[in-house]
Symmetry: C2
Subunit: 471 residues, 2 copies
């Protein structure tokens, strides 16, 4: 770690400990230079880094001040301060699959599930559309909805972006088997086996799976719980070595839950474009925002076709239909071809049923309900964790989605906690799933989409007691 990075980390830690309050001025560059015995240049560099991390802001003629968000982020865990990033071969899928399998048991409290409570989906309505298709069509030809996919579904997806003020080209959309396939094909279109791919740390494990599937290497970039991937560190990395792609989740990242501010989205797109690096944007939680409007996408800031935007209906409408899509920018032709090679075509009936639902039904009403519900549930889950978990436990502040990231005291090993919880029919998401390193060994991910009841509360209490016994 360089001198200026050490200094930046030290000051950021002080902010998080409350040494400097929100809005308060931090020591001037000259003062800091004297206090820490480093050059003016080093301090300027460190303060620049803190600014890009969103910890401080400059005010002309006045100096550097602590940002509100930085203090709010005090309760947010997951700030991986390591800047020693090492490309790693990836194999987390075994752990993830066995974790998901454990959730399969119907008795278990599904706090470890990556999926929303399926009872919230308007499945009855969607299935009615599927049934109507069965009556309407004499038969389907598999060829009808060959890549890029069912034309009406593509039109409906394009319409939703347009209604949310996001200009996109419908001809760019390719329907896939969930976002999983969209991410896989996007990565395959831009990188080859052995290449190094930058990801957030912690990252959603589907990103690591895509890298593992293609025999690539991951380089994990520290990611701030409130505003996302550390663009300065990323800049250093791409300045030093060849990075084939950068995979990020700018909206309601799984597991951190942040919404990357627009100016940082712009910075990220600019940095990558300056190095001709494609960005793979996983935007599966786009509809599950807690604020008033749908967040922007990296794609909105992309003028060069370098952003491959991936999304799906699995988190917001129905998981069992497995309908996702990619908008691969300048890589459209490659992704379409890979889609054809990978699974030939996405099943027709689910495509048409979702298109019919979007055209005719109350998707927006459904979404308003779940957004409100998830927002309430997030507050409730945070309060329960604070009540039941041992001292030193910290939580994220999700801005959307339905998962909470919990940092336990360092001595609690999340795999041990996972095993102990499973023995009591409670599943959790161990931190090991979100990195190829052991940075998050004392973190867990909790799903708050299931309606709160006495069992949930009891499960949280049990988890807290188990964690306390491991401190």
């Amino acid at each position: 770690m360089t001198l200026y990075e050490q200094l930046a980390d030290e000051i950021e830690a002080a902010v998080r400990r409350g040494v400097f309050a929100a809005g308060e001025r931090i020591p001037s560059v000259r003062q800091a230079s004297q206090q820490h015995g480093v050059s003016i240049k080093t301090v300027l560099h460190a303060y620049g880094l803190l600014e890009s991390r969103g910890v401080v802001e400059t005010r002309p003629q006045s100096g550097y001040f602590v940002r509100d968000a930085a203090v709010r982020a005090r309760t947010a865990p997951g700030r991986a301060t390591q800047t020693q990033v090492v490309a790693a071969e990836v194999d987390v899928s075994r752990l993830v699959l066995s974790t998901l399998r454990s959730i399969r048991s119907e008795d278990a409290m599904p706090l470890g599930s990556p999926y929303p409570d399926p009872s919230l989906f308007p499945w009855r309505r969607i299935n009615q559309y599927a049934n109507a298709i069965a009556r309407r069509h004499a038969s389907w030809n598999l060829i009808d909805d060959l890549p890029p996919g069912n034309p009406e579904l593509i039109r409906q997806i394009a319409r939703r972006y347009a209604e949310n003020g996001i200009a996109i080209d419908p001809d760019e959309i390719i329907i896939t088997v969930g976002a999983t396939e969209a991410i896989n094909l996007s990565l395959q279109a831009v990188a080859k086996p052995g290449d190094t791919v930058a990801v957030e740390s912690p990252t959603y494990y589907a990103m690591l799976h895509a890298i593992e599937r293609l025999g690539m290497r991951a380089i994990e970039v520290p990611t701030h719980p409130a505003h996302g991937i550390d663009i300065d560190v990323l800049a250093q990395i791409v300045g030093k070595q060849k990075i084939a792609a950068c995979m990020v989740m700018p909206n309601f990242q799984n597991p951190l839950g942040f919404r990357m501010p627009d100016e940082r989205k712009q910075q990220l797109v600019d940095l990558l474009a300056a190095h001709d690096i494609p960005a793979i944007e996983n935007d599966v939680y786009q509809e599950l925002y807690f604020g008033d409007t749908r967040p922007s996408t990296l794609k909105s800031f992309d003028t060069r076709g370098l952003v491959l935007h991936c999304a799906s209906f699995s988190k917001s409408l129905t998981a069992s239909y497995r309908i996702g899509w990619a908008m691969p920018g300048r890589y459209r032709a490659q992704v379409e071809k890979l889609k054809f090679l990978n699974t030939l075509t996405t099943p027709s009936v689910p495509q048409i049923a979702v298109a019919d639902y979007l055209r005719q039904d109350g998707y927006d009403r459904h979404l308003r309900q779940v957004r409100k519900f998830y927002r309430q549930q997030a507050r409730l889950m945070i309060a329960m964790v604070q009540r039941f978990f041992p001292a030193g436990t910290r939580t994220s502040s999700p801005q959307g989605g339905y998962v909470l990231w919990v940092e336990l005291p360092p001595r609690v090993d999340s795999m041990r906690l996972y095993q102990a919880a499973l023995a009591r029919s409670i599943t959790i998401g161990p931190g090991y799933m979100f990195s190829t390193r052991n940075d998050f060994s004392h973190f867990i991910r909790l799903n708050y989409s299931y309606p709160w009841n006495a069992q949930t509360e009891h499960a949280l209490k049990t988890l807290g007691e188990l964690a306390a016994s491991m401190v």
Copy 2:
């Protein structure tokens, strides 16, 4: 080409020209040695090759006799006599996708389609099961049918194999998005980018797609229209160079339509096992046999877990549900993991609907009807080709499935014919799709699954006239 291969080819050509009739004795080893001025050993070697090709058979104390099958195969095209096999990088998918797209148009006569007439599927019944599921289940959790897949569907698939006398282990089955994904994952489990994979020539293009998708190389092995891949040539290849896998379609190969005899299946499995080479068996037409019983599989002869068996319901039950499966032998764990990485899980409702249909409905009755229908249609299509196409045209003799392979006079280029036919709203499958080389430039594949009517007959007549104009 070696001396004995030249001699074998010469005699085989004579058999095909009718110089030696079925059951007739070919020259004795001594006679042939004198006639051709080669050693006794060379003749013995050549006759051994002819025997393994199924052209002649030995009768103890009597010599070598022309087999019936060899003469019947005289009308069958596609015998690629080249033994100079060169590994080639693969890129046929562009042609295939554009060909499939042309079939999309509802007006076009779909003779080029690789799919059966969808109106033959019991789609109404299957959709009724899908609808019943919608009423029965409160909701589905995506996790319920994680890889390997829905347990009841796996049980039903295993039951069908057992009822057909094929012993398999249900625990080996992994449900996939069609056979396409099963083949892709199987290949990825056993070979890596840059490896060389042996395929039939002509081969079903999905095999070439799988090789292309993973950046591997194909080596095309001459394949006999009546009994399949040339095991002798394959033996020479695997003796000389490293082959990572062999991909074959032993039953009703697309496009040749042969059913590989049991003894040759055994020989192929033995040869590959002796060199520790995995075999990927594409058995999607397993249920569409014209004979009395379901054919054996390569898998039936596999004692070492080296056969990765792939199949689907897309050709026999419903194409739009995209349900396939793999039985990957000793590679089961790898394929299951790759399935999880590739598409996470296969959509649940189609899995359950197919399982319910198989358990409760008349799949066997449906299959008996389509088998009988396809058998009649094959005869009709062959008769029409013989009637309308220019002299020198030859056709395959399909033993199952619903495609006919047609060899036109050498001067007819199948791409030119394809374009000319398309201008008249007729699609055909140009021979270029079935090889990375130009060996089949004057071959086309015709789909005979659609009910015969005046339009079909007119289309065949038009095709014949177009072909005649190109001679």
